[in-house]
Symmetry: C2
Subunit: 242 residues, 2 copies
DNA sequence: TGGACAAATCTTGCATACAAGACTGGAAAG
DNA sequence: CTTTCCAGTCTTGTATGCAAGATTTGTCCA
């Protein structure tokens, strides 16, 4: 294995690089995380890679299969339900406790909704997946509670993995409209309605999942070998959605 | 250092042993966690101890001071406020989403309240601290959502550390009554009231904290050397409260 | 051709060695 | 008597080595 230590600086820790990759849907559930590869990628020894894995394991972001390897988690159907359930309770509680939006908060949310609209117009599904999750983190940021933000960030990461596993159709427009309605309610100072809308929104997204779908162990191979794809278009890159 | 490997079996992982010790208030915030000592206590090498520390670090249970050591976290005043804030939102959302109690749930909660009463009668402050935190975990258990239970367990652990740092007076009876009211509301199927009561209860507990108090680096020594204590009574053991 | 077995390879699990910073205690200088 | 400095000690930070299980691949036999 060649030395790649000069390729990527250790700007950010391994932990956040991996979480970031999940949050932006650049890495798939079940992806293998090889200790040696990560070590040479970051120019450190396996020790530090393992430490990062241990931390991510505690956050339910990766799992280890003994003597086989580390993998990005693939939430089961049950787990998916629990995660959506937890998010419903937490986000409802969060929204209900929120006072009226200040100018900065309103601006931040509107800017985010604008990004969503742009991504929809561009048909950039990967970016949309990322933005859809980010919306909920932004709400938590309005509450300016770092503890809650951390909790919701990890739940969002797991939610994105769930989407990649079970999302049959991607109702981007519907989700976007849900977000708009929540923002509207917040601007009207109607926290109660915002909370109810958030619960309903999460319900809709969860309903859009096909939780009966079995994880396909051949998915990666299938995609890689898929024929008649235009050259230059990576299988994982943005693709138009219907 | 003598070999203590036969003293404690590795029944439970180091992680849960430490969390358990915090949840039962057997270990103080700021307590040092020496890698070598833990290693020989559990009969393993430092490697595995460090792995446990990394996981606990990701859960904000311990922190490392570079080249000085590992310590049980001492939440700052700000952090304490964030944690109580997060708990208010999460527990309110949880309670509001709960349906009417079934027989098993009612039994579990009543049994818990009974334990609280017994501890109050016995004047066992350490046990009470533990029970007071456990109440909220039990509520989460009723929702049967493992994801939420994990989140609340970690928040509870940190809450207990906060109590040990900042709780000036321990209003055990008042807290117990708060719990009773919440259970009553749940039994009446009034989730809305239960949620409001929980928020109010957490507010009261937070108000009972003296967040201006600076962490006393001499606390341990002070307690250890405190004179005129009856022999046989450990400084950390149950003590009557007023 | 198909299946079973075995060697080779890969990957993690765990311990250990050594480096480096932080602290302690004592000696020496003012 | 106080302060400063330095050697010794302790503790964590990081790399590395080896063991052991899992997987793969190639070969042999039916």
């Amino acid at each position: 294995m060649q030395d790649l230590s000069t390729e990527l600086p250790l700007f950010q820790s391994i932990d956040s690089a991996i979480v970031e990759a999940i949050l932006s849907a650049r890495i798939r559930p079940g992806a293998r995380l090889n200790e040696n590869q990560l070590a040479s990628l970051y120019g450190v020894s396996r020790t530090r890679v393992r430490e990062a894995m241990m931390r991510l394991e505690a956050r339910c972001i990766v799992r280890v299969s003994p003597r086989r390897g580390w993998f990005v988690v693939e939430p089961s159907a049950d787990e998916a339900r629990y995660i959506y359930g937890a998010r419903r309770m937490i986000e409802a509680g969060l929204l209900r406790s929120m006072g009226p939006l200040d100018a900065a908060g309103r601006a931040a949310l509107h800017q985010h909704l604008e990004l969503e609209r742009a991504a929809i117009a561009a048909g950039d599904r990967q970016r949309l997946t990322c933005l859809m999750g980010d919306f909920h983190i932004r709400i938590a940021q309005l509450a300016a509670n770092p503890v809650l933000i951390e909790i919701l960030r990890d739940l969002t990461a797991r939610t994105i993995l769930i989407s990649l596993l079970y999302q049959s159709e991607f109702h981007a427009v519907q989700s976007h409209e849900g977000h708009c309605q929540i923002v509207e309610a917040l601007e009207a100072g109607d926290a109660e309605r915002a909370a109810a809308l958030a619960v309903q929104h999460l319900d809709e997204v969860e309903d859009g999942l096909d939780l009966t779908r079995q994880p396909d162990p051949l998915a990666d191979l299938r995609e890689t070998l898929q024929p008649n794809r235009e050259p230059g278009t990576s299988p994982r890159s943005p693709s138009a959605f219907t």
